[in-house]
């Protein structure tokens, strides 16, 4: 039987300043995501959304617990192996776009594949595919400063997809976008989720994202307060 589990987080906790004034950012979170999910992580500011996302993405080490991605316990990986793991398995979309300003849209997307040492021909083909998928084939040679916020975020989505990751972590992806750009971006991500079964995990405050999510996990004070899923998916 095919293993559909992509993210398996066990008893995740994160305590900042454990030796001085301890702050429990995340408290004993268990989280299980399967391939093809389109999940929103919501909650008030300071509820631990970004910290949880960072631990799932291997950017931050949990104080206790472990994160298993596709069968690999990433909390046990040494630093360089963890960076390589992220390169090949996790796509990131950040709130502030975070494109490399000196590279064009095409080069920003290609950059990840260069790090993966993918041959030039395949890189070129995939870049064209991704630019088409995010609706920016005519902006291939534009630098980030020449693109609108929405267009930059679409390039960031294409960059996240370039490495053919297991899933995409998106931290407040629509926070800096107007409603039209946010809607276009969500359409693209929804289509990728539907057509290619790409798994998305968002942290968001944005109701437009929450409305589109098929599963919504609410964090309050570092703990999961609710986990709602449409019919056919069961989480608690």
């Amino acid at each position: 039987m095919e293993n559909r589990t992509v993210i398996d987080a066990h008893n995740l906790s994160k305590v900042y300043n454990p030796d001085t004034i301890p702050v429990n950012a995340v408290n004993g979170v268990h989280l299980h995501l399967e391939r093809g999910e389109f999940t929103a992580l919501v909650g008030p500011s300071g509820s631990g959304k970004t910290t949880l996302l960072n631990m799932i993405g291997g950017l931050d080490q949990p104080t206790t617990g472990k994160v298993v991605i596709n069968g690999t316990d990433i909390t046990a990986l040494p630093p360089n192996a963890l960076i390589d793991f992220r390169l090949h398995n996790i796509g990131f979309v950040f709130q502030a776009f975070n494109l490399i300003p000196v590279l064009t849209a095409r080069e920003n997307i290609e950059f990840i594949m260069l790090l993966q040492k993918i041959p030039a021909q395949e890189r070129s083909r995939r870049v064209e595919e991704l630019l088409l998928a995010v609706g920016l084939p005519d902006k291939a040679d534009a630098r980030p400063a020449q693109l609108s916020g929405g267009q930059q975020q679409r390039v960031a989505v294409a960059r996240a997809l370039a490495s053919k990751p297991q899933f995409i972590l998106a931290d407040e992806p629509t926070a800096n976008l107007d409603s039209h750009s946010a809607s276009t971006l969500l359409d693209i991500m929804e289509k990728l989720n539907t057509d290619e079964h790409m798994t998305f995990l968002f942290s968001t405050h944005d109701q437009r994202v929450i409305d589109r999510a098929r599963r919504v996990i609410t964090l309050v004070d570092g703990s999961i307060a609710s986990d709602t899923a449409p019919a056919g998916l069961h989480h608690s």
Binding site: N54, L59, N80, R86, N98, P101, V102, L103, L115
Partner: protein
């Protein structure tokens, strides 16, 4: 990819990078020009000194240089001359027989240095004929003398007058002779001008009762850069009873002067590079501070910190390389011009130089290693300075960096 990224990164803040590159270019230009000028002046000084008297290498009887007496002279024969002439790199050789003597004319007497020379060979080696002020140069078979004009003036002698020389000959014999003055020589050095007198070698040997003997064989070289190899080859070719010395061993005070001056130049250049180091370092620090968030993002995306550090090293190298190459391009025509048209000084300064027999000119030299060295030094400075931001990147926490 990394080098392209690094190249583009340095143009993010165009003005800042241009200012940094300009400061590097200025420093490189200044150091190349001053170093080329210094080397040119030293080369000229050495050429002057060597051409004036010593030759690049001399062969003596063993111990002659420490105790310069006729007793330490040596017998020259065809086999010694042939051995010297056949040594690769040797372009000219002239035998000399030197002795101190009393020069007398009428009631005037002066101490002087009498040098027996082979006139035609000596002229090829030291351009002695160019010092002739009055009268004629002597030939190899002549029996006449050349007298420095300062000495002639003190003895109130002129061309055609007779000079009497008294000295101690070989093995203590008495040497006395009188010689017609064929010409008067002018030397810039007052020391030489007041006390030198030349005789043809065979005349000096007869006068000093030292037939076939010489105190030195002065040797000129094709390439002064081969000084030590030629010296070693001569040592190997000649009997062990002869000493072979190069001009550096014969004139250690000149070598010391050059060394002292060179150290001064190195200090000047070090201060110059220290100043530009601050410029490069501040650029790198600002870049690190401005892009910490981006570095965090790159680590998050899966770029190893080592690669990011390498990218920053390349950025620093690009800055240094463009700056130093610009400096080289700017300095090349200046050095070329100073090689062709040396700086000429006038007034009292020139007179001081001329007193010592040197033209008061300061030529530069187009010496490729100077250009290469300066480029390498600046690249090394850029590379070393980039280690600090590189170390910071290796310690980067991507989450903290992206929170900025």
């Amino acid at each position: 990819m990394l080098s392209i990224l690094a190249w583009r990164n340095i143009w993010r803040n165009r003005n800042r990078s241009l200012i940094t590159m300009a400061s590097i270019a200025g420093a490189v230009m200044l150091s190349v020009v001053t170093t080329s000028l210094q080397k040119g002046v030293f080369d000229n000084l050495i050429r002057n000194l060597v051409s004036l008297y010593t030759g690049y290498v001399q062969v003596h009887g063993d111990g002659y240089w420490d105790e310069q007496t006729l007793d330490n002279s040596f017998e020259i024969n065809d086999s010694i001359r042939d051995a010297v002439s056949r040594t690769p790199g040797v372009t000219g050789v002239a035998a000399r027989l030197e002795a101190f003597a009393l020069a007398s004319a009428g009631e005037k007497t002066r101490g002087c240095l009498v040098v027996g020379i082979e006139p035609s060979r000596e002229d090829r080696l030291t351009r002695l004929q160019s010092k002739l002020e009055q009268g004629n140069f002597i030939s190899d078979s002549s029996g006449e003398a050349l007298v420095a004009e300062g000495l002639a003036a003190k003895l109130r002698l002129g061309v055609g007058d007779t000079l009497v020389l008294l000295s101690q000959g070989y093995y203590g014999s008495t040497a006395a002779g009188q010689y017609r003055i064929a010409g008067l020589l002018h030397f810039g050095s007052p020391d030489l001008n007041d006390r030198v007198c030349y005789l043809p070698l065979h005349v000096a040997q007869y006068w000093l009762d030292a037939p076939q003997r010489a105190t030195a064989l002065a040797i000129s070289l094709d390439d002064p850069g081969d000084l030590r190899q030629t010296q070693a080859a001569l040592r190997a070719a000649l009997p062990a009873t002869l000493e072979v010395m190069n001009w550096e061993e014969m004139m250690p005070e000149i070598v010391q002067h050059i060394k002292t001056d060179t150290v001064g130049m190195y200090i000047f250049i070090a201060v110059l590079y220290l100043l530009i180091s601050f410029g490069i370092f501040s650029t790198l620090l600002m870049m690190l501070s401005e892009r910490r968030r981006e570095f965090g993002m790159l680590v998050a995306l899966g770029m190893r910190k080592g690669k990011i550090a390498l990218m920053v090293l390349l950025e620093s190298v690009w800055l240094a390389l463009v700056g130093s190459l610009t400096g080289l391009l700017l300095s090349w025509p200046i050095v070329w011009y100073l090689t062709r048209y040396p700086i000429r000084v006038g007034g009292d300064f020139a007179k001081i130089y001329e007193r010592f027999g040197f033209e008061a000119i300061f030529p530069a030299t187009l010496y490729a290693p100077i250009f290469i060295e300066q480029t390498l030094v600046v690249l090394a400075v850029g590379l070393i300075l980039a280690f600090y931001p590189a170390a910071q990147i290796m310690r980067l926490n991507p989450v903290a960096a992206m929170r900025q």
